[in-house]
């Protein structure tokens, strides 16, 4: 049964109140490793948003027209992973041809995204929460933008941290994880405002 949540509210909720990264802690590894640099963070965030929206739409179609009618829900993990990998590959080829400028900013991040758990996570949320097509696409776009927002915030904070004295033992990953903890606590302030289920 489809939940009755308004797609527009769902979109807003997935950016702020249930941020895929800071509330659900998905997509952490690239979040931590790429956020050293603002420009790369921007590119990766853009790529995640882009790929997440498109894979969610494709996966929804596959889920509702192939997997569900045949009763193969237990295979959804494998199928979604295959779909994500294929879509990323196709997108990479098309972008390479159509827009070299966009390829330069997105290109190297696309293969990374295949294994970004935020993508698979958002698609699995879409499945277990029974979203309809519009809800799925907006939820995925919102999750992507939320992830983008989070990595840009962290990148900006890390650029400021770099200019300040950090105790030797906390340099690098240590101070980054503490920072992410504070950011997540700030985002907890939003939680419960909107139920996304």
């Amino acid at each position: 049964m489809t939940p009755l949540i308004n797609p527009a509210i769902l979109f807003f909720a997935s950016i702020f109140t249930s941020n895929i990264l800071l509330s659900n802690f998905l997509g952490m590894c690239s979040f931590i490793s790429i956020s050293k640099d603002w420009k790369s963070s921007f590119g990766l965030g853009l790529a995640v948003t882009f790929v997440l929206t498109i894979t969610a739409a494709v996966s929804w179609v596959v889920l509702h027209f192939v997997i569900a009618p045949l009763g193969l829900e237990y295979l959804s993990f494998i199928v979604f992973i295959i779909v994500i990998a294929a879509v990323v590959q196709i997108l990479e080829m098309i972008i390479d041809r159509a827009s070299p400028a966009l390829y330069m900013s997105l290109g190297i991040f696309l293969p990374l995204i295949t294994v970004n758990c935020a993508i698979l996570g958002a698609i699995l949320f879409m499945q277990i929460r029974n979203y309809n097509f519009i809800q799925s696409v907006l939820f995925a776009a919102g999750s992507g933008i939320g992830w983008w927002l989070a990595i840009l915030l962290l990148a900006a904070i890390r650029e400021r941290i770099d200019k300040n004295p950090v105790p030797a033992g906390l340099k690098g990953a240590g101070i980054t994880l503490i920072t992410i903890g504070f950011m997540a606590m700030a985002f907890i302030g939003f939680s419960g405002m909107i139920a996304v289920q």
Partner: protein, 373 residues
């Protein structure tokens, strides 16, 4: 029965369908039609199919840019200066390029895809680089971990090179390695003996090419060699050569020494050759080089063991090759005609010897070595 089958079938069908879309799209999207490659301002012109990396496209036209990794972007050897615009440097290229090279738009030819007409600059000597079909004529163990491999050239059947240059062995896929790679080895055969190529290959544990040579290669096997490459050769000056090698670094010096002896090349150059090994079982060609020393008055051979074992009965020099080298430069070598350094060995050895040589007044620009080790 039914449900057992539907799961795998649907997954496989879906994967096949997506793979089909990808390969069809690849045909359409990656088709860049015919593009022109202009090399050295119009000297050479090729019409080729676009869509592939520059390195492979050049190789298909018979121009072999040196590459040790076979185009995976992990060796940084295949540098080419590109004059036309092919977009900014990729993050996969920048780690291998110096700031100067970045400024001159030097690119890794395996990383840039040919999408439109391109203008590039290549050193002239690359055009004499060829791919040779050869047969393994013999494989000999010269130490417990170094093999001397002799290749008989078949097509083309002779090679023109300078003593000290190297070739690349094309290692075909074997065992767990699914991709062909190329590895550089200095030729130890003489340029005058141009129907064959001899290489010295030391077994490096885990090394793709060395494991293949040591464990898979047999006499009579067909092997492809690409070359000659490299800037390591005897300089046309009267200065005395101070050569230092360890292990399979023997190869280029064997070639140079026998070339100078057989053909009387560089007659006014004196040669000091320092060869370092750990113990007796790592030492080789000792008798041959001692015999050559007797026949060539201008050649002085110094072999040193750093950790001789009692059964070696070693009477020569002992100690690290760098210490032996420094002692000889200070006490025995006549520097009146000037000194030139020639090094071949591990990067660690090359760095250590460079330090010793510069400390003893051999200018850095007069110290020569190949950086592929």
């Amino acid at each position: 029965m039914n449900s057992f089958l539907t799961g795998p079938l649907v997954t496989a069908g879906l994967a096949a369908f997506l793979a089909l879309i990808i390969s069809v799209l690849d045909r359409i999207v990656n088709n860049y039609g015919e593009v022109t490659m202009d090399i050295n301002a119009g000297k050479r012109n090729y019409k080729v199919r676009g869509g592939s990396p520059l390195l492979g496209t050049l190789a298909a036209e018979g121009i072999f840019v040196p590459s040790a990794c076979g185009g995976r972007g992990s060796c940084g050897a295949c540098k080419v200066k590109v004059l036309s615009d092919v977009g900014p440097h990729l993050p996969t290229e920048t780690p291998y390029l110096t700031p100067d090279e970045l400024k001159q738009n030097v690119r890794l030819s395996c990383q840039i895809k040919l999408k439109k007409d391109i203008e590039i600059e290549l050193p002239e000597e690359l055009f004499s680089v060829k791919k040779f079909k050869s047969k393994v004529a013999s494989i000999k163990n010269v130490t417990h971990d170094i093999k001397e491999v002799l290749f008989k050239l078949e097509n083309p059947d002779s090679i023109e090179f300078l003593a000290g240059q190297y070739v690349q062995i094309v290692v075909p896929p074997y065992g767990n390695f699914k991709e062909s790679v190329q590895r550089a080895y200095s030729m130890s055969s003489r340029p005058g003996d141009n129907g064959q190529v001899e290489l010295l290959v030391r077994l490096v544990p885990g090394g793709i090419a060395t494991t293949w040579v040591h464990q898979f290669l047999k006499e009579g096997d067909s092997v492809e060699l690409v070359g000659p490459f490299g800037d390591f050769h005897v300089r046309e000056t009267p200065a005395t050569m101070v050569c230092v090698a360890g292990g399979s670094g023997m190869a280029p010096f064997k070639s140079m020494l026998y070339h100078m002896h057989e053909e009387g090349a560089h007659p006014d150059k004196d040669i000091w050759y320092f060869f370092g090994a750990r113990s007796g079982r790592d030492m080789f060609y000792l008798d041959e080089l001692r015999a050559l020393e007797k026949k060539m008055p201008r050649f002085h051979f110094v072999a040193a063991l750093s950790e001789p074992s009692p059964e070696d009965n070693w009477t020569g020099d002992t100690g690290l090759i760098t210490d032996v080298l420094e002692r000889y430069i200070k006490e025995k070598i006549d520097a009146s005609k000037g000194l030139e350094g020639y090094l071949c060995g591990s990067p660690g050895m090359i760095n250590a010897c460079t330090t010793v040589m510069t400390r003893n007044n051999i200018a850095l620009e007069k110290i020569y070595y190949d950086k592929f080790a």
